[in-house]
């Protein structure tokens, strides 16, 4: 469609800003995701009391 006028400089600047923000947001989401993966992997056992007695949550016999 060659009838379109070329973008004004203002629109180019605005587009650049929008794409910049998009890149920042994608980067932020990726970083939070990776951080979550690392925290979960290094966080040890993620298990807590959920109103059901489980052997893994009880103190072993003779234990402290």
């Amino acid at each position: 469609m060659s009838n379109f006028r070329p973008d004004h400089e203002l629109h180019q600047r605005r587009r650049g800003r929008n794409f910049g923000l998009l890149a920042v947001l994608i980067g932020f989401v990726a970083l939070v995701f990776l951080l979550t993966v690392v925290k979960v992997q290094n966080g040890g056992k993620v298990e807590a009391f959920d109103h059901t007695a489980r052997p893994s949550l009880t103190t072993p016999e003779g234990g402290q």
Binding site: H8, L10, G16, R17, L35, V37, V38, N42
Partner: protein, 314 residues
């Protein structure tokens, strides 16, 4: 519809780069580097992703305080030649935008650093932002010639934050890294104030050059340089006792003292005669000084980790 409504010379529509410039990227690079050294030399282990995130959020916090500094100082930035091209005086970003970005990024960086590392690091970052914006920018900068001496603490915190990311605390080593940057700041900024000539007096900022005169500033530069030299070389015999650090500190401090001595012996006529060549060269050397000294701290830590330590001096 005519295109005249979009005359770009009249718009203040900012580009992405203008918003990025609000974060003072050059200052941020110093923050990133010193924080990274603090993180890497600390006797703890941090997952690379956590370390990367921590450094990023420390940098973001530093950038946020830069944006808040530009928000508050917009009036004097318009007057000073050195700062006239900043986004607010250049008319690209409004003061309100800078304030909103500064506050939002400050909160985000502190919260994210707390989540990525620990509360001590996050607390230190929050205090650094507070110190730079409230203590330095809002209070000291316009009220005392000691502005950059005390305010310099804000720029000295990043290695302590990096250290805290790894260890979860503060120790004598991290305080020493703080001290190096703290005592380095006055000669660095006063050299800049000397060759910026009337910038600070035009803006009515009570820099030492304005309140106590340029002669006195030259004396103070020399005094602080000697103090810094004694401190950094002295540190080689305490906790930061690596051989690379000692050798680097001796060479750099000799060069630094030589530069400060040259500045001390010059008067304004001589300085104007060569367009402040000695002052400019001292300023550049000061940047190299901090970079190389922190690189030396890192090099010693790497040698120790690789098991090829040449041994401490103490």
């Amino acid at each position: 519809m005519s295109d005249t409504s979009f005359d770009s010379s009249q718009t203040t529509e900012a580009s992405f780069g203008d918003y990025f410039a609000l974060l003072k990227p050059r200052v941020m690079s110093l923050v990133v580097f010193t924080a990274l050294v603090g993180l890497l030399v600390a006797p703890g282990s941090v997952h690379p992703i956590e370390g990367f995130a921590a450094i990023l959020f420390i940098a973001l916090g530093g950038g946020a305080s830069g944006a808040l500094n530009m928000w508050y100082d917009a009036d004097i930035d318009r007057i000073m030649k050195r700062t006239q091209k900043r986004p607010i005086p250049a008319g690209k970003v409004t003061r309100d935008e800078a304030f909103a970005i500064g506050i939002a990024l400050s909160c985000l960086s502190v919260i994210m650093l707390g989540l990525a590392s620990n509360l001590v690091a996050a607390g230190l970052l929050a205090f650094t932002i507070f110190f730079y914006v409230v203590i330095y920018t809002m209070w000291l900068k316009r009220s005392t010639p000691q502005n950059i001496v005390i305010g310099g603490a804000a720029g000295a915190f990043p290695p302590m934050i990096g250290w805290a990311v790894s260890t979860g605390g503060i120790s004598i080593e991290s305080i020493m890294m703080f001290a190096i940057t703290f005592f380095w700041t006055p000669p660095h900024f006063w050299a800049l104030a000397l060759f910026m000539k009337s910038d600070y007096s035009d803006a009515k900022v009570p820099m030492l050059t304005v309140t106590h005169g340029r002669r006195n500033t030259r004396i103070q530069i020399f005094a602080y340089t000697v103090l810094l030299a004694a401190l950094s070389v002295g540190m080689s015999f305490t906790a930061l006792n690596g051989p690379v650090f000692l050798a680097t500190a001796v060479v750099l401090n000799l060069l630094f003292i030589k530069g400060a001595w040259t500045i001390l012996r010059r008067n304004e006529e001589q300085a104007e005669g060569d367009n402040y060549a000695a002052e400019r060269s001292f300023f550049k050397l000061s940047l190299l000084y901090l970079f190389l000294l922190f690189t030396a701290i890192l090099a010693d830590a790497v040698l120790v980790r690789m098991g090829i330590s040449l041994g401490g001096w103490v």
